[in-house]
């Protein structure tokens, strides 16, 4: 069976080396620039006419804007307006990464844990630093919920701290595992199709079945791409809410 893990290999296109650190322009960087290019062209072309009664493309980008705006407003509140550019950028980056990965022969940069972990840990760091800067030591009251008998605090506080530290890990692993598993499934069924063709005339006819399954899987992956981008962005909003007001 062909190796479905080969599609995740990062290959340098322009090898660069600065002071012993490998900063080559890789296929991952190429597709990141492609996703920036696509969103740039999409938003510029759609808003070119700035019509009061929008055409179809302008409706599409206005729907993206409104979805993220409602997400930020309903999760963080009116103070969350300052985080809107960050959440919008994260949403479009993850969305374009997931969607462009569905093009045949492309590369899904969100299927690498290093990319998703970098995003998650930056958000986690931002929450901790901004929270400590705005609320001071009172930020640590996040780990001591109100209404708990004092005798339980030595058990509850470590559990709360561990579940707080688990947040960036689950945040990044969710997106990474979804993308990686989806693409492995696609590659496995494609391998079935190729393997069936080599078995003879009956095999050539039967090899249409994995292709049909693949078509259904790509439809499912499209849904998962959109959903995972939405989940990543809304979880970033929920984590950022802790900088605005201390919950519990």
């Amino acid at each position: 069976m062909a190796d479905p893990l080969h599609q995740f290999v990062i290959e340098p296109i322009v090898p660069l080396n600065i002071g012993g650190v490998d900063v080559s322009f890789t296929n991952s960087s190429l597709w990141m620039m492609a996703s920036i290019g696509v969103s740039f062209v999409l938003f510029n072309t759609a808003m070119r006419r700035k019509a009061l009664v929008p055409g179809r493309l302008q409706v599409l980008v206005e729907m993206f804007y409104q979805m993220v705006s409602d997400m930020v407003k309903s999760t963080i509140g009116p103070e969350g307006r300052r985080y809107f550019p960050l959440i919008f950028t994260i949403f479009m980056l993850v969305l374009m990464g997931n969607l462009l990965g569905l093009i045949p022969y492309s590369f899904t940069y969100t299927s690498h844990i290093i990319v998703t972990a970098a995003l998650s840990f930056m958000i986690f760091l931002a929450v901790v630093v901004i929270g400590l800067a705005r609320h001071g030591v009172h930020f640590l009251s996040l780990f001591a919920p109100a209404g708990v008998p004092v005798i339980l605090y030595p058990f509850l506080v470590p559990i709360e701290i561990i579940s707080y530290i688990a947040r960036p890990i689950t945040h990044s692993v969710r997106l990474f595992a979804n993308m990686m598993a989806g693409h492995i499934m696609l590659k496995v069924f494609a391998g079935f199709s190729v393997a069936l063709i080599t078995t003879g005339a009956v095999g050539v006819a039967a090899s249409a079945v994995p292709v049909l399954v693949n078509a259904a899987l790509i439809a499912f992956e499209l849904l998962i791409a959109l959903l995972q981008a939405y989940v990543f962005a809304i979880l970033a909003c929920i984590y950022l809410k802790d900088t605005v007001e201390i919950a519990h």
Binding site: D3, P4, A181, I184, Y230, V231
Partner: protein
């Protein structure tokens, strides 16, 4: 037992948690369908939460699939 056989056995056993994922997904769909069935206006409130919880439970299923792939396809 040889390493190759243990690897294949481990890659099969790692798929067992998918039972729990299937049950969890069924519970989520059942709760959403029951709620919308009794009160169709509830779909406005519940739709986004439904997709959110689906993604959370699906994550464990997909982490299991990633673990299977890493065990099955590596030397």
């Amino acid at each position: 037992m040889e390493v190759e056989a243990m690897k294949l056995l481990a890659s099969a056993l790692v798929l067992l948690p998918l039972m729990g994922v299937g049950i969890g997904l069924g519970l989520i769909f059942a709760a959403y369908n029951l709620a919308v069935g009794r009160n169709p206006n509830a779909s406005d409130v519940l739709e986004k939460k439904f997709w959110l919880t689906f993604a959370f439970v699906e994550m464990f299923g997909l982490v299991t699939i990633v673990a299977w792939a890493l065990l099955f396809f590596t030397a």
